[in-house]
């Protein structure tokens, strides 16, 4: 009744091919952007920023990155934690080596750096695939974490082996370091999320997206119809790592402020982002957001209910979280392999026809 394309006439191909072809969708999207950019920064407080919004935005970037690789190109990677570490350490080295350059450029360069590393570790994907590749990407995870742990140059020979983000400003506002306000941190993350979602959406519906999906669906057949597997696979690894690197840079510089590589970028990070992609929906940008939101909010929710309301010990709540996440993964793989994004699409289909079933 409210949600349909009837009366919404398209007269150009450009209109027909837009991301949100239904008017209500489009308006909703603008409304969300408006609230996110112009309302939330004024009402945000420390708790909301640190517990929910910042991790949500940062993991959304990472999930978009991994979704390009796993969901669109079909190359399962368990090295996300390692690639996030590359982003974090690149941005740290750049921040300390060139203090006068804007941090936005540093973060983008860190993404580029990660893309190069990602392509290097993506090279074996030309020979191996499936879970052989998934396991092979663990090599990236363990090797990179070890490298950042053992080579003092990466953490500027600091005694603790930690990296700490110094204060950097954008247009006079501190966005990193202890003086940064929650809204400044939030806006910088929001900026990169919008950038990532926009680039990813447009890449995945263009030539490259089609190449990736062809490789995912049947690589040999794709090669026969003229998709170059070398460029398709490596570009997927490159673009994916670029976003994952940006997420790692943001996670360290803006959100955590200080990081120790084995703790912040261990293998659990890889699984966390992979779970976001699975629960959210493979091959869907919206799904990356949904999955990130779900897995960021779930622990907060469980902690509030189990520890806050029921008064259980925190360790028990943490174990329950593991059980629930594990069970959810299995549940989604069995019942809805396309994740939350698919559920959302079903709701939209129903709404378009409502109140009539056909």
């Amino acid at each position: 009744m409210f949600y349909r394309e009837a009366g919404d006439f398209k007269t150009t191909y450009r209109d027909d091919g837009q991301t949100f072809p239904i008017k209500l969708d489009r308006l909703g999207y603008y409304a969300i952007l408006f609230v996110a950019a112009l309302v939330i920064p004024f009402i945000i407080n420390d708790y909301w920023a640190n517990a929910i919004l910042l991790p949500f935005l940062i993991y959304a970037v990472a999930a978009i990155g991994l979704n390009i690789l796993v969901g669109y190109a079909g190359q399962v990677s368990l090295g996300t934690g390692g690639f996030m570490a590359v982003g974090a350490y690149s941005v740290y080295k750049l921040m300390t080596a060139f203090p006068d350059v804007s941090i936005i450029i540093h973060i983008l360069l860190a993404g580029g750096m990660t893309a190069l590393v990602g392509i290097a570790f993506g090279l074996p994907s030309l020979r191996i695939k499936g879970f052989y590749l998934a396991v092979a990407t663990l090599a990236a995870q363990f090797f990179l974490v070890w490298l950042f742990n053992k080579v003092p140059w990466f953490y500027n020979y600091s005694a603790s082996g930690q990296i700490n983000s110094p204060e950097r400003t954008v247009l006079g506002w501190a966005v990193t370091g202890p003086a940064a306000s929650p809204s400044a941190k939030y806006i910088i993350c929001l900026l990169f999320v919008i950038f990532a979602a926009w680039v990813a959406r447009n890449l995945t519906r263009g030539t490259y997206g089609r190449k990736w999906m062809a490789i995912r669906d049947m690589d040999i057949a794709a090669e026969i119809i003229g998709v170059n597997p070398l460029s398709a696979k490596l570009s997927a690894f490159g673009v994916s790592s670029f976003f994952v690197g940006i997420a790692g840079a943001l996670l360290f510089a803006v959100y955590l402020g200080a990081a120790e590589v084995t703790e912040a970028f261990g293998i659990n990070k890889s699984f966390l982002v992979l779970f976001m992609v699975i629960i959210g929906g493979l091959g869907s940008i919206f799904g990356s957001f949904a999955g990130a939101a779900f897995l960021v909010i779930l622990p907060v929710f469980l902690k509030n209910v189990l520890v806050g309301t029921l008064g259980w010990p925190t360790d028990l709540a943490a174990h329950f979280e593991l059980m629930i996440v594990g069970a959810l993964i299995i549940f989604f793989l069995i019942v809805e392999p396309h994740g939350l994004a698919r559920l959302w699409r079903l709701v939209k289909e129903k709404l378009r026809l409502w109140p009539f079933p056909h």
Binding site: V76, L123, P124, R127, I128, G130, F131, Y132, A134, V135, A136, L138, A139, F142, F143, V145, W146, N149, K150, V151, M218, I220, A221, I224, I267, F271, L274, F275, I278, L310, G311, W312, P313, D315, L316, H319, F320, E321, L322, M323, I324, V325, G326, A327, L328, I329, I330, L333, I334, P337
Partner: protein
């Protein structure tokens, strides 16, 4: 020079022993993969779960005590009895069989015919779930496991080698026992799959699901059986590793060590799991010994993976794996 050589050979032997332990975990993977095409990431957590259950039963812990206390405000912890090791092992094996049945009924049955990578991700979910269950059931504190296996440096070996070479080799008695038990286990598994009816059925399923079904083999039964065996192998691995380094979360990470072993040896081959385990075990110890000091040590974390990765680029199916042939 002679010292160096002797020391290196000690490292070599210790590497072999470690390799045996890796093979033990890798075996569980191979069994399940061969019979059902599922790459079971949860194998390490199965080992952790088995070891936790074993300790819990031996010490007479009340399952879910922590949870019950939190909900009802009680202070339960132990039944007040202890169970002898042999009986506890049998009971734990029973628990692993029940677990296998549950996994088949609740997870695998619904995922028949899905792509291998989906099944792989499902077992990652299973690993998380089991880890949570294990912790809620038995508590997450580090436990010591002692089923009566000898431990400590073997005096006999040190004496003998000291007489022969004038240099005593330090070899853990537990490692020697692990090697013997692993050898027995492999022999038993091979005998089982070669000479029993169920073993033959298992191999038939591994070869061709459809054909096996059409001659009247119950897939469901075979899967439960295979997961039970894998659970039993996990129990043995859990006992070994648990005795060696305590029963704690890091036990589940041995699965991550077994993955490169499999990549090297090939996912479908029992000899591959053993040879791969030995190569990785020796390789990482020698690499740590020769190259480690130059690059800051702790190379054991990644050496196995990088070795397997480089190897796979040249031979994607592993040492003993079946050649992958694809047609459009």
């Amino acid at each position: 020079m002679m010292d160096q050589l002797l020391f290196a050979s000690e490292v070599f032997i210790n590497g072999l022993m470690t390799g045996v332990m890796y093979s033990l975990v890798a075996l569980g993977f191979v069994l399940i993969y061969k019979a059902s095409g599922v790459f079971n990431y949860a194998q390490g957590v199965l080992a952790l779960f088995a070891a936790l259950t074993l300790v819990g039963i031996m010490e007479g812990q009340i399952p879910f005590a922590h949870l019950i206390n939190a909900v009802f405000g009680t202070h339960l912890s132990h039944f007040g009895w202890t169970v002898p090791a042999v009986l506890a092992i049998i009971l734990t094996a029973g628990v692993m069989v029940i677990l296998a049945i549950l996994i088949e009924k609740l997870v695998l049955k619904h995922l028949v015919g899905q792509e291998p990578i989906i099944l792989f991700m499902a077992t990652i979910g299973l690993a998380y779930f089991l880890e949570g269950v294990g912790d809620v059931m038995w508590g997450a504190d580090i436990k010591t496991l002692d089923v009566g296996l000898p431990q400590g440096i073997s005096d006999a070996v040190e004496q003998t080698t000291a007489n022969w070479f004038g240099y005593g080799f330090f070899i853990d008695r537990l490692d020697i026992w692990a090697t013997i038990i692993a050898a027995l286990l492999v022999a038993a598994l091979v005998a089982f799959s070669q000479y029993t009816k169920q073993g033959r059925a298992m191999r038939a399923v591994a070869d061709d699901h459809q054909a096996a079904l059409s001659v009247g083999i119950s897939l469901q039964f075979i899967w439960i059986m295979v997961w039970s065996i894998a659970g039993f192998v996990a129990l043995v691995a859990g006992i070994m590793w648990g005795t060696k380094s305590g029963v704690q979360f890091s036990l589940s990470l041995i699965a991550l060590k077994a993955l490169p072993v499999l990549m090297l040896g090939g996912f479908t081959s029992i000899p591959g799991a053993i040879v791969g385990g030995l190569i990785i075990g020796v390789g990482e110890k020698l690499f740590e010994f020769f190259v480690g000091p130059m690059v800051g040590g702790a190379t054991e974390n990644w050496f196995a993976y990088v070795l397997a990765l480089i190897f796979l680029v040249f031979r994607p199916q592993g040492l003993f794996g079946e050649r992958i042939i694809e047609r459009v």
